[in-house]
């Protein structure tokens, strides 16, 4: 919330001369990140002779980003409250193992639910989210009430949960998972053309309504507002981005061989010349839902306000009556729940639980949050920044893979980008005079 406002160079509402960007009241750091993302995409598009910005690759990029991006939104809250969570990848593995065992072994064998029973995927997800939340809350209790540094608690957690998952599954790959469960993985669950357009139009309507009602609310309280044309410009750009994204996903055709298999499975013959498109993957919808919910928590709830206040000045928060210990428990519990949601997406995408699922995800998640502008000193960070950070990381990685960069060089580049991004952020903050 602070960096959204700090981009404005003056507090005087109208007197001072303001340039185009200032009048739009758009966060310049957001623009910078989007700019970096666009540059990455364009460079790879040239290097791959146009293969990077195809509908197919954009679709794949989206579904590959979801798991890390969901966890990165939670990592923003952790880092904002001046903690760190090194256990997210391992916790993802434990949640994934718990869900895989629940749906393939425990429910069918202990509770006698037949494989394919419609309740199985939902019970499995609930179990996973409960496990993630409970483990997260426990780690938060160790940090908040017993005062063990989060670095140590979660470093221990990294070893513990990774191997709890191994122990639970005896190191075996558990699969195949429930078909309904697997629709949340990406390619196996998409909305198709019509539903995608409906969702896109609804999203545009919601965004415009949100912007407009915020403006009305400001006017009602006599607060300064930006000119109407600026409001329309922002609405236009947001709408174009949403609908453009839907249009791209809707132009990715399902391969004919795959369609034929689907018809064959239903016992029918595929009509000649039949085509269908993927549209928006359910996992991407899930990410958007998480992002919206987390943004509302950050900006519009007391919980979110206290997270940022505690990150900015823990003593001030405590003296203002905020229970900072309980807050730590809640923040870690939320992170645990998000790890479980990511575990659903990650295992569904792979169609099974494998022993190495989520390995090194903690580093990707932290890097995504930090590239997205979350300050390790606490108090500063945004949800959209973390998601953009995840997207930039994933683009770099898959782009380099497509270009054929050697594996060691790929990681060298990603590491360099991480450090450079933080350096640029520090220089930027100094320039605008914010802390």
């Amino acid at each position: 919330m602070s960096d959204a406002t700090s981009s404005k160079t003056d507090g005087l509402p109208t007197q001072e001369k303001r340039n185009f960007i200032q009048t739009l009241e758009v966060d310049t750091r957001l623009l910078g990140m989007i700019g970096a993302f666009v540059v990455v995409c364009l460079v790879f598009n040239v290097l791959t002779d146009g293969r990077f910005l195809t509908a197919r690759n954009i679709f794949n990029l989206s579904i590959q980003t979801v798991s890390v991006a969901i966890m990165a939104t939670g990592m923003v809250f952790i880092i904002v409250t001046r903690h760190i969570d090194l256990a997210v990848g391992a916790l993802l593995a434990t949640c994934s193992a718990a869900m895989a065992m629940t749906q393939t072994a425990i429910l069918p064998e202990v509770f006698g639910l037949e494989l394919g029973h419609p309740l199985i995927p939902w019970i499995a997800m609930l179990v996973g989210i409960a496990v993630g939340t409970a483990i997260g809350a426990f780690q938060g209790y160790l940090v908040g009430y017993l005062m063990i540094p989060a670095f140590i608690v979660t470093l221990g957690g990294l070893l513990i949960w990774r191997n709890v998952a191994w122990y639970m599954t005896s190191g075996q790959t558990i699969g195949p998972l429930d078909p309904t469960f697997m629709t949340l993985g990406g390619i196996n669950g998409t909305l198709g053309a019509t539903m995608s357009w409906i969702v896109g139009v609804l999203a545009v309507a919601a965004a415009c309504w949100g912007l407009w009602s915020a403006r009305r609310n400001k006017i009602a309280h006599g607060a300064p507002v930006k000119p109407v044309w600026a409001e329309y410009t922002v609405m236009g750009v947001v709408s174009a981005v949403i609908l453009g994204f839907v249009a791209i996903l809707n132009s990715y055709q399902i391969p004919a061989a795959r369609l034929r298999r689907q018809f064959a499975a239903a016992g029918e013959e595929m009509p000649e010349g039949f085509t269908a498109v993927y549209g928006i993957p359910l996992s991407v919808l899930l990410l958007i839902a998480v992002a919206v919910a987390m943004t509302i928590i950050a900006k519009k709830t007391r919980f979110g306000r206290y997270i940022f206040a505690t990150g900015g000045n823990p003593d001030a928060a405590e003296l203002s009556g905020v229970n900072t210990r309980m807050l730590t428990v809640k923040v870690f519990a939320l992170m645990g729940a998000l790890c479980a949601i990511s575990a659903i997406v990650a295992s569904a995408r792979l169609t099974n639980h494998s022993n190495d699922i989520g390995t090194l995800d903690e580093l990707r998640v932290i890097a995504a949050a930090v590239i997205g502008g979350t300050a390790l000193a606490g108090g500063i960070g945004t949800i959209y920044g973390a998601i953009l950070g995840a997207l930039i990381m994933q683009s770099l990685q898959s782009g380099m893979a497509m270009v054929g960069v050697d594996a060691p060089l790929q990681n060298i580049v990603v590491g360099t980008v991480l450090v450079a991004a933080v350096l640029i952020d520090i220089i930027y903050r100094k320039r605008i005079g914010a802390k």
């Binding site: 406002t5 404005k8 507090g11 519009k300 206040a309 900015g312 003296l319 005079g433």
Partner: protein, 250 residues
């Protein structure tokens, strides 16, 4: 005499065997400013933090309006309309003025979400009264000057109808002009009938603003005197020697 607003009766607190406050008794009446003086480590801030709910006393009794008050947390203190302005500014630097003013007591919409627009509107109103030139409503308070930050802290106390105000070195970080602004504000709040505990190192300022001054040394109360009855030298010798010259003379 009327019932005091606050009575601190024989208050003690110990940290690991060191008695930071040792059997101190003070009272405060409505519309009165009581100053607390003493060296660093004399126990002034600790005593006042007990009243503010930041520390738990290990002995003694606090009475508000004659009734025994249980103050175990800052939240409890607020229930008794006690507001504190701390030496280390208790503001979250990364949040704007409105978020800081309402921290812990956010205004919410009917759906339970924080209502930033309304909080900002209220903040604009109260800040206009305290510092008419204040404009930086949309910037984090880290971008504010010391005086502006202090006025945000004072605005918080005023807005929530404090009856008892604790000011721990409110002018320590301020320039001359801003110090005067805070002094005027203290006089105005006093005229409105608030009781104010003021901590400062500036003896002259204390003699100007306070009705009575209490001097502490090594956790003990040296004495409490009406400002008309003492000179600056008397107070200095109380601070340095830990003895009340008037008592010694009597």
């Amino acid at each position: 005499m009327t019932t005091p607003l606050v009575e601190l009766d024989n208050i003690s607190i110990a940290f690991g065997g060191i008695r930071a406050v040792d059997g101190v008794s003070l009272d405060l009446h409505p519309g009165e400013v009581v100053g607390l003086l003493g060296h660093n480590g004399a126990g002034k801030s600790t005593l006042i933090k007990i009243l503010a709910g930041a520390y738990k006393k290990s002995g003694g009794e606090i009475r508000i309006n004659g009734e025994v008050a249980e103050i175990n947390s800052p939240r409890d203190a607020r229930r008794y309309n006690i507001e504190t302005i701390y030496q280390t500014l208790a503001l979250a630097d990364n949040l704007d003025a409105a978020s800081n003013l309402f921290l812990g007591r956010e205004l919410t919409t009917p759906l339970g979400f924080v209502d930033d627009t309304k909080m900002e509107a209220e903040t604009r109103k109260i800040m206009k009264r305290l510092t008419p030139n204040f404009q930086k409503h949309n910037e984090p308070v880290s971008a504010l000057s010391g005086g502006q930050r202090q006025s945000v802290a004072i605005a918080r106390a005023v807005y929530f109808n404090a009856k008892i105000l604790i000011m721990d070195e409110p002018t320590a970080a301020l320039g001359v002009h801003e110090t005067q602004m805070v002094a005027d504000l203290i006089k105005e709040l006093k005229a409105q009938g608030l009781g104010i505990f003021l901590i400062s190192h500036d003896t002259r300022e204390m003699l100007e603003l306070c009705d009575r001054v209490s001097v502490m040394k090594n956790g003990k109360l040296v004495g409490t005197e009406r400002v008309e009855d003492v000179t600056e030298d008397d107070i200095l010798s109380m601070i340095i020697l830990g003895k009340n010259p008037r008592e010694a003379a009597a």
